[in-house]
């Protein structure tokens, strides 16, 4: 039952991400809900599963962005590994630390991607990628785990 709920939640996040991508010009909201899935997998799973999911989620993000497959694959994988190593130092029972973890890690991941975009396309560092998106994504993460039902099915208390 819990695993079905988890799968349903992840599908909902993917669905929501596609809708957000479609209306980003109108809403001006830049979120990466797929990253929340990656954070959960990094904390809960082993090294191989984390690597595979980080690469796949990174490639999907690449497809939705400028189209250079591999950039977000690289940055998300690196961040997922670092998340696995450092999450133990955060008290994830407190929402503030969950927010901080998501914000800092996504900011770092997007910064790496931005560096690649700078060298390949000459794109300057974008504040929306480095600050706005991590902030809103972390906020969305906090809102999602506010529900006790979701916390129970994800085993995060």
């Amino acid at each position: 039952m819990k695993s079905k709920f988890k799968i349903g939640l992840f599908l909902f996040l993917i669905f929501a991400q596609i809708i957000i991508n479609r209306y980003v010009r109108v809403t001006k909201i830049n979120l990466d809900l797929l990253y929340l899935i990656l954070v959960y997998i990094s904390i809960r799973s082993g090294i191989l599963k984390t690597a595979i999911w980080a690469t796949l989620i990174g490639w999907v993000t690449d497809f939705f962005t400028i189209g250079l497959v591999g950039v977000f694959g690289f940055s998300r994988t690196l961040t997922a590994f670092l998340l696995q190593e450092f999450y133990k130092y955060f008290d994830l029972r407190k929402r503030f630390f969950v927010f901080l973890l998501i914000f800092v890690s996504l900011s770092f991941s997007n910064l790496i991607a931005n560096v690649f975009f700078y060298f390949i396309y000459g794109q300057s560092i974008k504040m929306s990628l480095v600050l706005q998106q991590p902030f809103l994504t972390a906020l969305a993460g906090i809102l999602i785990i506010s529900s006790s039902k979701i916390r129970e099915s994800l085993d995060v208390h």
Binding site: I18, I19, R22, V24, A51, T55, T65, I66, F81
Partner: protein
Amino acid sequence: MWKRETSTDRKFFILIFVLFLNLFIMSFNIILKNEKSLIENIASTLLSPVQVGFQKTIDFLSYEFKHYVFLKNMFTQYHELKKKHKQLKYKNYLLRKKLNQSNFLSKVNRDDPSFMGAEVISVDNNFPYNNIYINRGLSHGIKKNMVLINEDGELVGRVIDPITLISAKVRLITSSTGGVGAYIKKNKLEGFLTGSDQKICQFKYLLENAPVSIGDDVITSGTDQLFPPYLPIGKVVGIEKEYLTQTIYVKPFFIEKSIKQLVIMMNPLKKGEK
């Protein structure tokens, strides 16, 4: 101790392998001369049915909700009027174009383009002025370099690879890759308009003494052999004069409008045609 070291080594090797794989894919995928990318084609073919599927689901649910909650007749009438309005707009554009052609291009023998509607299914939310995806593809007769305009007949971009059966990628005129042959409508001052992945495009290296004013209209010239001539692009919003040249900043019309619904011009320009 030995087990912990092996576990750490294993982690390290997996990390290095996956990072190297991504770097390899990246280097394989960097497009240097606008050529097709095999990996991008594969990713597009795999993911576009998902995007289009979700879009159709949303449209269906949205349609059913509106259909039954609001007054049924008013909804149908509204759509019919909207459809007629669009058709009249396209006719208006054709007539204006014919008028221009009869004055300046009487030697050109060209069929009138037909149009196809398209919806935007995905926007690059990190670079929203670079590329978009539409829900028309090879099965609808879409080909590379077909031009896209918005509902007001203003230039938006052109179709590029990858084109799958049900979707296609569109490069906007605000993209830093590519450009548009254009001129200032008032004085026919011609140049090449380039984007910078921002809201504003630039005409670079025009002669400093050429008269340009803020608010001048910019239209396509057709000299790039990609975009048909006389399509409205935007307005001049800034002029920066240097020693012998000037840079003119142009804001495309489509920037301030919704690009949910677009129109594809189904006949791309043939080589040598203006």
